[in-house]
Symmetry: C2
Subunit: 346 residues, 2 copies
């Protein structure tokens, strides 16, 4: 592979001069600049970023860890992060933990070993242990979490989203439509404890404040996947006293719920209202489009990247204000027409 020395030799200068041409940090005569550039082009020279990174102690790369890349929410996050980082001359190295703690740990260490300049950890703890993150941070490594739960906030700086308010928006919307029996499909298997629990809490709080008790048996769990949302919805719909509305804590599960309702021959929103969370692009194109809570991914990544870059440069950083949710009301929710508590006809 062509090195800086090959260029230097060909151009009849020294490696330092070639380096100067490349970086533009030192004055170089136009004549030699031209000559050097010519040979760079001719020999197809590309600076070895490993060598450069070794000495500059910077790779101009930021690591991004997400739970599951096949969830469009995270794919869209990666896309946003890439665009934003690119503006600052940084590259994103994204990986997904597949919600596996061991793999998450490995990825974290690998990113560190590659000397990325900093790391952003997205989403739930799935796939990453707090101690693992803690170790890196205590060694002074620039890290931050993005939309994680409270546990992490005290460890890494956290760019946060007001999930609680999001859950409230959902409840308020459904209550206003006359729904009183609301089924919930949350992420997190029961044993592990709910992971999307802030979204649920917000919803329950608003219900309680409005004076409507929540039937705890209407709280079911999924794993954020399409199929798990469908399964949970089928389970809710099979009850003798099915809910008139279902709140899924992410959009994929909401789509699963739509599919479940369709299979049972139910019309949405006439027979059942469905609300999601995330606002992935797809929710505008389902039939009907899904009412969901908007998480502004671009704003989130703008804040995160900006904050991480500051952290990398050793600047003082203020944790940005919590991002607020907005409800996108679409066709999957309507006034409750079915008599509450009555079984669904098939």
């Amino acid at each position: 592979m062509t090195t800086i020395y090959d260029i230097a030799r060909a151009a009849g200068v020294t490696a330092a001069t070639v380096s100067h041409v490349l970086s533009g940090k030192k004055p170089v005569s136009e004549a030699t600049r031209q000559k050097v550039m010519k040979y760079i082009d001719e020999l197809g020279y590309r600076p070895n970023l490993l060598a450069r990174g070794l000495i500059t102690r910077s790779t101009r790369t930021i690591g991004l860890i997400v739970p599951i890349i096949s969830n469009p929410f995270y794919a869209e996050v990666i896309d946003a992060a890439e665009r934003i980082a690119h503006r600052a001359g940084f590259r994103i190295m994204a990986t997904n933990t597949q919600d596996d703690t061991l793999l998450g740990q490995e990825i974290l260490e690998d990113l560190h070993a590659r000397r990325v300049d900093g790391i952003i950890v997205m989403g739930g703890s799935g796939g990453l242990s707090i101690p693992a993150i803690n170790t890196l941070i205590s060694h002074g490594f620039p890290m931050l979490s993005c939309i994680w739960d409270e546990e992490t906030e005290r460890i890494a700086p956290n760019v946060s989203f007001d999930y609680l308010a999001g859950g409230r928006l959902v409840a308020e919307h459904l209550l206003a439509l006359g729904h009183r029996r609301i089924g919930i499909i949350a992420h997190g298997v029961a044993e592990k404890g709910p992971q999307h629990h802030l979204r649920v809490s917000g919803c329950l709080e608003a219900l309680a404040e409005a004076g409507y008790p929540f039937d705890a048996t209407l709280l079911t769990y999924g794993d954020s996947s399409l199929q798990s949302g469908k399964d949970a919805a089928l389970q809710l719909l099979a009850r003798l006293d099915p809910p008139t509305a279902i709140f899924a804590t992410n959009d994929l599960m909401a789509i699963g719920a739509l599919s479940a309702a369709w299979e049972r021959g139910l019309h949405i929103p006439r027979d059942l209202s469905v609300v999601g969370f995330d606002n992935i692009e797809l929710t505008t194109y389902t039939t009907p489009p899904i009412t969901t809570v908007i998480i502004d991914r671009v704003a989130l990544m703008e804040k995160s990247v900006e904050m991480l870059l500051a952290l990398i440069e050793g600047k003082h950083v203020d944790v940005p204000p919590t991002l607020k949710p907005v409800l996108a009301v679409r066709g999957s929710t309507a006034h409750s027409s079915r008599k509450e508590g009555s079984a669904l006809l098939e």
Copy 2:
């Protein structure tokens, strides 16, 4: 940051010995091994992969370039690639070109400069110019394309998928259901020439062979996005002589078509049949589920990664046989009930 020398000093040995412990390539007494490991742990040492890569001339990383990461098809591809590469001890560095040629060029050069061991370029030429790829290959850089069109096949080794056969499957299926007027939504704006044209050609060939001429005005174009599929479908459905079935050359556009039909109050598949291409997970959960052509992403990436690794090791590689399509018949297609050529009622 802790270096190998810090460990060596702490353990009272030399850097070479620590290296031997780490690599396991040289015999080391159990006693020193223990001691070294202890300090590695204690000081939180992580080998600097930049330095290692510099000397071993390998980063154990393979670059993966896709057009658009927010298309679940490519997100699923990346996920598959990561799993497969991981088995071989390799890491994937994935980036999307956002279908931008300039950005694609930049990414390619960056990947090269980072000294990834090889690169896989996925999907259409969107975002990457043939000459750019050619330059790298001619310099002996391990590269291959995956499911690209014929143009590339002569340049880089190509893991291919039989798009033509896929298009035929669609036509045969629709013909068997009695459809004669088939609308097509293909990727590629008209000026640039169709990029998904093999999928289209296959379909047209089968139609011609069956003795049914294709009305060229029923060929419309999108850009593989949800919205473009919807727009194109609306356009087709607004005609006085709308098609009885629509073939979208990818699933996102098919979902867009579903949405368009829904907005126009049409029932699928009674009023209109819709077929997609790719078999993204979502197609099973739409209402109704979408009939589509299966592209086996895992098989594709298995072949690609395996082949690239061989290329990296300088082994001779045989181009694997073209992967064949399989049609997944689902609820979005049914027997043509509407009288051909009649306008759609709203």
